[in-house]
């Protein structure tokens, strides 16, 4: 595909604005731009066709199966989009007077009430713009709590080795030393390993439950009790809440604060990498430490971004919550878990689950034996799936499983889709034994073959330069 700059024609443009109807004002010479920016010069037809062409080379969850583990790629309802594009929401200035924004505040308050109920928390902020941003906010709650008690010796955050990379990165951004603890053979927290590192220097623990291999940690109450006993706080990474919403609550598991990915669990679209929203909930004793906007609200609080957060994402999540309601929320979770277990059962006998037991909303396949036998790697299988029009699962994560493929079908896939997906996996398993070379070269029908990532990293070309 040509780049937009390669389609640009000097002097061409769209008709958007009227001529300026007030006298022009000159910028002082020393403030003026020296050369015009090289932006595309196009007609509206050119713009429309260019982006339509790009759009044809994108796979979204509303277009096909997308079992990307830990990303909860569920169907994104169109009504949620429509509600988020109402002028009564999009046209509201964040600093408009209180009387003019009652509807926005109602959206925020209602979503907050529902999500606090689902998580078992007392209060919530929507300021964080993504999951990692929510983690940052949540761990800053923990930090402020210890600081407020003048408890300065708590310098360590405990993170299991199966955690998402954002957990240790977040702890480091909050000035903490990261203590990685090994997982037990079943992927859950090793209680002895936890006890060994807990102490007066423990600030807190960051945990997902169900964890990153898709298993609910049955010792969860014991884990949070031990951390609290040591004087630390417990942070719930809500990446995997879709498995348990309406069934069991992080607050009841003993967690003190939690972030939710509204763009995963609550069906707001991911947009090819955002915007998301990382709502952060907390128990009442942490509520005074929640972030506020310096300009919109009272000063003297932490603040993780401007204004009140990704408001339109909250509108979408609220539309979703109103649709599902009290029965629909647990129904979604239960069917997410059912779909994962069903798909795992259908694949079993070919590729091997890393943990052969009932899983939650996702499961991990361990392809190390398959690779030994055929030479075909998890990467080769992933790339082969593309030829079937299926987005590959998460690859090589969690790090504790070798040759890992992590599948999360979500509740919005039908039995027919799961049966088809299982058939594709079975076919690829057989193909691995028959024609491994074909799989090494996959994908065969995609827009491009495998890209040379080494070349991209050694000689970075990160912008277009006119020849």
């Amino acid at each position: 595909m040509k780049l937009i700059f390669e389609k640009s024609v000097p002097g061409r443009r769209c008709a958007i604005l009227p001529a300026c109807d007030v006298p022009k004002v000159e910028l002082p010479a020393d403030l003026q731009r020296e050369t015009a920016p090289l932006l595309p010069e196009m007609s509206e037809t050119d713009v429309s066709r260019h982006y339509t062409e790009l759009n044809q080379h994108v796979h979204g969850v509303n277009c096909g199966f997308y079992p990307l583990g830990s990303c909860t790629m569920k169907y994104n309802p169109r009504i949620d989009e429509e509600m988020a594009s109402l002028p009564g929401f999009t046209g509201i200035h964040p600093l408009a007077p209180k009387g003019a924004v009652e509807g926005c505040e109602e959206v925020i308050e209602t979503a907050k009430r529902y999500l606090c109920e689902i998580t078992g928390m007392a209060d919530m902020t929507f300021q964080p713009a993504a999951g990692a941003h929510g983690e940052f906010t949540g761990v800053l709650l923990i930090k402020q709590y210890h600081d407020s008690r003048n408890d300065k010796n708590r310098t360590k955050i405990i993170v299991p080795d199966s955690a998402h990379g954002t957990n240790p990165a977040t702890a480091a951004m909050c000035g903490y030393q990261v203590v990685n603890i090994p997982s037990a053979p079943n992927g859950c927290v090793d209680l002895d390993a936890l006890k060994a590192v807990l102490g007066p220097d423990t600030a807190g623990l960051m945990l997902t439950n169900p964890n990153t291999v898709g298993i609910f940690d049955e010792n969860i109450l014991e884990i949070t009790r031990l951390v609290h006993e040591a004087g630390g706080l417990c942070y719930y990474d809500g990446a995997n809440l879709n498995a348990v919403m309406g069934v069991v609550r992080p607050g009841d598991m003993g967690f003190d604060c939690v972030h939710l990915n509204l763009h995963k669990t609550f069906a707001t679209p991911h947009g090819g990498g955002g915007p998301g929203a990382g709502a952060v909930g907390c128990k009442a004793f942490l509520a005074p430490f929640l972030p506020h906007s310096a300009l919109m609200e009272e000063p003297g609080h932490i603040q993780v971004r401007g204004f009140r957060g990704n408001f339109l994402v909250v509108v979408r999540a609220l539309a979703y919550l109103l649709t599902l309601g009290r029965e629909g929320v647990p129904e979604a979770a239960q069917n997410a878990v059912l779909n994962a277990n069903y798909l795992m059962a259908c694949i079993k006998g070919t590729f091997t689950p890393a943990f052969d037991r009932i899983c939650m909303h996702e499961f991990v396949l361990d392809l190390s034996e398959f690779k030994k036998a055929t030479g075909v790697s998890a990467l080769d299988v992933a790339k082969s799936l593309i030829d079937y029009g299926m987005h590959p699962p998460t690859m090589y994560f969690p790090l504790i499983v070798h040759e890992a493929l992590m599948l999360e079908p979500t509740e919005t896939e039908s039995k027919e889709t799961l049966d088809w997906a299982a058939e594709v996996f079975r076919a690829l398993y057989e193909l691995g034994y028959k024609d491994p070379a074909f799989m090494h070269a996959a994908p065969h029908n995609a827009q491009i073959g495998r890209p040379d990532e080494v070349k991209a990293a050694r000689n970075p070309i990160v912008r277009y330069v006119k020849a």
Binding site: V58, G91, L322, L338, I386
Partner: protein, 437 residues
């Protein structure tokens, strides 16, 4: 009740049977009985699509949509071309995840590569990331990226947006680093005070251009002492102003950041917005966030990939400079479409027209008794006026469907964009005149 679960009750039973389970409770056998929810959530019953539409339309109607917005302060009401709303709403762009699988995501990757190029062009920088959350986090990330083992102190202009200053403070609180605010003199960063504050511990100086009061800073002259002190110079810029204003690169900036909302995104009660971030080749590997790079595929064809990933949290974990992964990709796409629809000429017109309207409004209001410009000096599309009966004026405008300037530090901070017609501005002046008469 609404639901997006497609499988029928019969199918659910079939599937349960296939995995050898009786009911849903069996799926949750690892959940201890003591915490398994034994009562329904305290949520209303699920609703049909029509009912949900009614409910949210009802909330939207409780907000007031103004005919004219003369308030900015970090959220700018520019005209959004129709095509800019339409393209990012396409189902594929909208519902894709981060482009981890390049073979299936060339459209997203190329759109980001084009966005990166446009941000480089606007700022004069060599490399841009794929976006961060908003202007405030872009500034905070830039301050974090400027630190090294020896230099940990950040200086922030007091004339920057209050939310930006507070966000920089919060990120620095995280890493236990110090932030000092450079005093403001006559509405601009006090250059003499800045010079006195430039000690060897200073890692970076953050200045906003134009600043929160709308004034143009002497951005270029400040670069000299900052660099002499061995610190990095970070400029936070308005991207519309960049249509006419000297680039951060030409002002000597090492890192350029800003709030991308004016590039085709609605004000939307504060978000989603778009943080842009660009720097020089020298600092490329310290830049946080996703970066798309160009390469070739195994047939030698041009291809785009997420590149330089070893900077990021999923590889570097606790040693990563930032934890960011999801950013604001769809907003970056929106900005890309906006910049393509406007082109260099259109962007220049938006900037010139916004500036002209703000100056017209300012001049007209200053004709009225008791109205004074608080700070002299060249300004872009915002200005702070001291005016009598400010509350009454704003209330009178509100009644006529006009959102007036923001009450701030005892004055009113006004903003005008190309979207407001001269006719409307004249009406505003007439209403203010009526109050002051």
């Amino acid at each position: 009740m609404g639901s997006y679960v497609p499988s029928t009750q019969e199918q659910r039973q079939e599937m349960l049977q296939a995995i050898g389970l009786k009911d849903f409770r069996d799926l949750y056998r690892d959940v201890p009985e003591s915490m398994y929810l034994d009562h329904p959530l305290d949520l209303p019953e699920g609703q049909s699509e029509l009912e949900v539409s009614r409910a949210l339309n009802g909330m939207a109607r409780k907000n007031k949509v103004y005919d004219a917005v003369l308030r900015g302060a970090g959220a700018y009401d520019h005209y959004i071309p129709s095509i800019v709303k339409y393209i990012p709403a396409k189902e594929e762009f909208l519902t894709a995840y981060t482009p981890y699988q390049a073979e299936m995501s060339q459209g997203v990757l190329q759109s980001i590569f084009e966005y990166q190029t446009e941000i480089c062009e606007l700022t004069g920088m060599d490399v841009s990331n794929a976006s961060v959350y908003d202007g405030a986090t872009a500034a905070a990330e830039a301050c974090a990226m400027a630190r090294d083992r020896k230099r940990r102190l950040t200086l922030v202009s007091g004339a920057a947006h209050p939310d930006v200053i507070n966000t920089i403070r919060t990120y620095s609180y995280g890493t236990n680093d110090e932030v000092k605010v450079i005093p403001v003199k006559n509405g601009k960063t006090d250059r003499e005070a800045l010079k006195a504050m430039l000690t060897p511990e200073v890692s970076a100086v953050y200045v906003q251009q134009p600043n929160f009061y709308g004034l143009f800073e002497d951005a270029e002259t400040m670069a000299v002492p900052v660099h002499e002190a061995g610190a990095l110079y970070i400029l936070g810029v308005n991207p519309i102003a960049l249509g006419i204003m000297k680039t951060p690169r030409d002002c000597g900036a090492d890192i350029a950041v800003g709030e991308g909302q004016p590039l085709g995104l609605p004000i939307a009660y504060g978000g989603p917005y778009l943080g842009f971030m660009a720097t020089t080749t020298k600092n490329m590997r310290k830049l946080p966030g996703r970066i798309v790079g160009e390469t070739t595929d195994d047939n030698g064809n041009r291809a785009y990939v997420l590149s330089l990933q070893a900077r990021e949290q999923h590889i570097r974990r606790e040693k990563a400079g930032s934890n960011i992964c999801s950013n604001e990709a769809l907003c970056a796409l929106t900005a890309g479409v906006y910049l393509a629809a406007m082109g260099p000429a259109g962007l220049k017109e938006v900037a010139e027209s916004s500036m002209a309207k703000a100056h017209y409004l300012c001049r007209e209001l200053m004709q009225l008794p008791g109205v004074k410009l608080r700070y002299e000096g060249p300004f872009f599309h915002e200005f702070l006026l001291d005016m009598p009966k400010a509350d009454e004026i704003l209330a009178a405008l509100d009644q006529k469907g006009i959102l007036g300037g923001l009450p701030y530090e005892g004055g009113v901070l006004w903003c005008a964009t190309e979207k407001v017609s001269k006719e409307m501005l004249d009406e505003v002046v007439a209403i203010v005149k009526g109050v002051l008469a």
